[in-house]
């Protein structure tokens, strides 16, 4: 058991940190980028590709870097640290992950090659509209069409290619849809965290199927990977929110003294640190499980996301409260951190959903062993 990064991974981390730091060195810089379309920096996207970050999880045969979950997590955490709005987890881990798991050699080489090179942005359309527009697929072999509505699809309006889940006669299918496909309507908008989402409507839209049979397991496994990556993004965000708050307590004066004179506030900062250490441990562990014991990956993802839910609410809310009024303003950073943590929390299942999953199996084992 070992929690230290090797030097190669540290080099990757530092490189990514460098690129992101240049674009998102201040909260104002980030706001400027997220206020313009497409909500992130195409330039930074390209630089991430140059570093190899966009191809990390994909095999070299597919045009990727052939790295593993640890490298993906390190990048996600750096994204979270500065709230970089590029759709790394959305495009690479989730949408790219579905292609990697379900596509054939040619499909993978094509899509993942272009994704790794930063030439395209993928979006995963996996959430059916809550208004009841379930997407169904009809057809066979090379000839499929999709009908229905997905919403919200993160970065769905900008995406060059959509990876779409749809109901088929043989269960859940996974499909690729081109941005310029007929019968495809995309309505993009801003999400509260500065990101982008879209309503994506399919009406007899031509699609290419990835794989065959019921692919619910492929979807669930890929969602587990995305949950773990998002958990890392979240701990990056929490870490910055906590540090920003601690710094504020050291410098902000009230009643003639700095805020860290007030023991009640100090103790609450200590509680933030406790939350931070605990969530960091669980999230790191989930990545190790993904790398070394993938058969437990879904469970580990649920555990990580549950812990992220608890810590994210705690740290996000307290970061604002301990700042006072300034924390409420869009000009200052902590509010954006809370907003992003809230978005991650409600994407791919919130803490209660994870708890429900874990609660259902709590009687199946005695002592919980993190290693075995």
């Amino acid at each position: 058991m070992d929690f230290t990064l090797d030097s190669e991974t540290i080099a990757l981390r530092d490189a990514v940190r460098g690129v992101l730091g240049r674009t998102y060195g201040s909260s104002e810089d980030r706001r400027a980028v997220t206020n313009d379309e497409p909500g992130f920096s195409e330039d930074t996207w390209g630089k991430l590709a140059e570093l190899g970050a966009l191809g990390l999880p994909f095999s070299e045969d597919d045009g990727g870097a052939g790295a593993g979950p640890i490298e993906v997590s390190v990048v996600a955490e750096e994204m979270g640290r500065v709230l970089a709005p590029e759709p790394f987890v959305e495009s690479v881990v989730l949408a790219g992950g579905l292609v990697a798991a379900a596509g054939d050699d040619a499909q993978r080489a094509d899509v993942l090659g272009r994704l790794s090179a930063g030439e395209i942005v993928l979006a995963a359309a996996i959430v059916d509209s809550s208004a009841g527009g379930e997407v169904t697929a009809s057809g066979s072999g090379d000839s499929w069409t999709l009908t229905g509505v997905k919403e919200p699809v993160l970065h769905g309006a900008r995406a060059d290619l959509l990876v779409v889940t749809a109901r088929t006669d043989e269960g859940l299918g996974i499909f690729l849809v081109e941005a310029d496909a007929s019968g495809l309507e995309r309505t993009g908008y801003r999400t509260h965290d500065g990101g982008r989402a879209a309503k994506v409507a399919f009406d007899g839209t031509p699609a290419v199927r990835l794989g065959s049979g019921d692919q619910s397991d492929v979807l669930e496994d890929t969602i587990a990977r995305a949950r773990i990556a998002y958990s890392h993004e979240a701990i990056g965000a929490m870490d910055t929110a906590m540090k920003t708050t601690v710094e504020y307590l050291k410098t902000r004066k009230q009643f003639g003294v700095t805020l860290n004179t007030f023991q009640a506030l100090k103790f609450r900062a200590a509680d933030l640190y406790v939350s931070m250490e605990l969530v960091r441990s669980t999230v790191l562990w989930s990545t190790l499980v993904l790398a070394d014991a993938p058969e437990r990956a879904r469970e580990a993802a649920a555990r990580a996301k549950l812990q992220v839910s608890r810590a994210g609410r705690h740290i996000g809310q307290e970061a604002i409260q301990l700042h006072g009024g300034i924390g409420m303003t869009a000009e200052y950073s902590v509010g954006h951190y809370m907003s992003r943590l809230t978005a991650i929390e409600h994407w791919l299942g919130d803490g209660s959903d994870q708890l429900r999953t874990l609660a259902a199996t709590v009687g199946d084992h005695g002592v919980l062993d993190p290693i075995g």
Partner: protein, 383 residues
Amino acid sequence: MKLRLSDEDAAFRDEMREFFTTKVPQDIRDTVAARRELSKDQFVRAQQTLNEAGLAVPNWPVEWGGKDWTPLQRHIWHEEMQLAHVPIPLAFNASMVGPVIAAFGSQELKERFLPATANLDIWWSQGFSEPDAGSDLASLRTTAVRDGDEYVVNGQKTWTTLGQYGDWIFTLVRTNPDVKKQAGISFLLIDMTSPGLTVRPIELIDGGHEVNEVFFEDVRVPVGNLVGEENKGWDYAKFLLGNERVGVAPVGSTKRLLAQAKEIAGDRLSDPILSSRVAELENGLLALELTALRVVAHSADGKPHPASSVLKLRGTELQQEVTELLVDLAGPDSLASGAGDGSDVPDWSRVATPQYLNFRKASIYGGSNEVQRQIIAGTILGL
């Protein structure tokens, strides 16, 4: 001890309920129910409807439009308004500057301002907080220097809620820098169209614009706009802040919001985890409401009961917890705050996260919950 309202109070409640649910324009109540921002016009029309019926400023002296109600009646008025989705009369007018002018202003100031204040013909803004004086309000640095029959005001105020609509602003300004900080403060009324006064919007984390910075550069203010005596402003401010805490627990509106959440949840309430969470919130709100009733019952002397800090503290916590529940109910749709009308995401889901983010302010503004704990520990427990 008894549970039931007296016949008189029950009749009063029916009367209020009848008025609020039938006389206040429906578009305004719908906007509140949908948790959308009210326009200035809606605020004004709502308050003028109330004022016409003598229901806008019941807490004022009777001669200026107030009512000689019992604390319980005032509480019922306040709750029924919230339950009916009627916007509460603008606090800056009805609860803050109005009572201060009525209590400490000259007859001339009263005549000049009170009727227009009650009717929201003048929209008041609050100029208390400053960037470097958060919870430590008395350390404010905006100065007013006497020059003939005018004050020359320089400095900056912040967190001025709805200042973009403001006609006038009531301010605390430093008129004597050489004494203990509380002893050199005056309460000054300033026309917001005065030269040298500028308002700059502050965007909040929900993307909305409801607070502002207000800058004063050599703003000249007639000395006649001083309320009460020079350098006594801190006393008036304390009086005002005491009033602010009355009815500070947003019980009725939070109850309505929780009831909306239950409607939205519908069949999902068969999930014991969700229904337990709702039941726990409902019990928490019940305890809060009953405490508010106990507090009003014991504040007949007109002074706020010290336990009103409990109402502020717990009231804002519960308000925040209910807004959080709505985000959770919205699930992934809660991200879609910016969805337009073509979206499939229901309206309540789109407002859920912005409201949740916005309501983090509730435990900060108007005396943060840390300040409330300090008051409880100090004033009530003697610690």
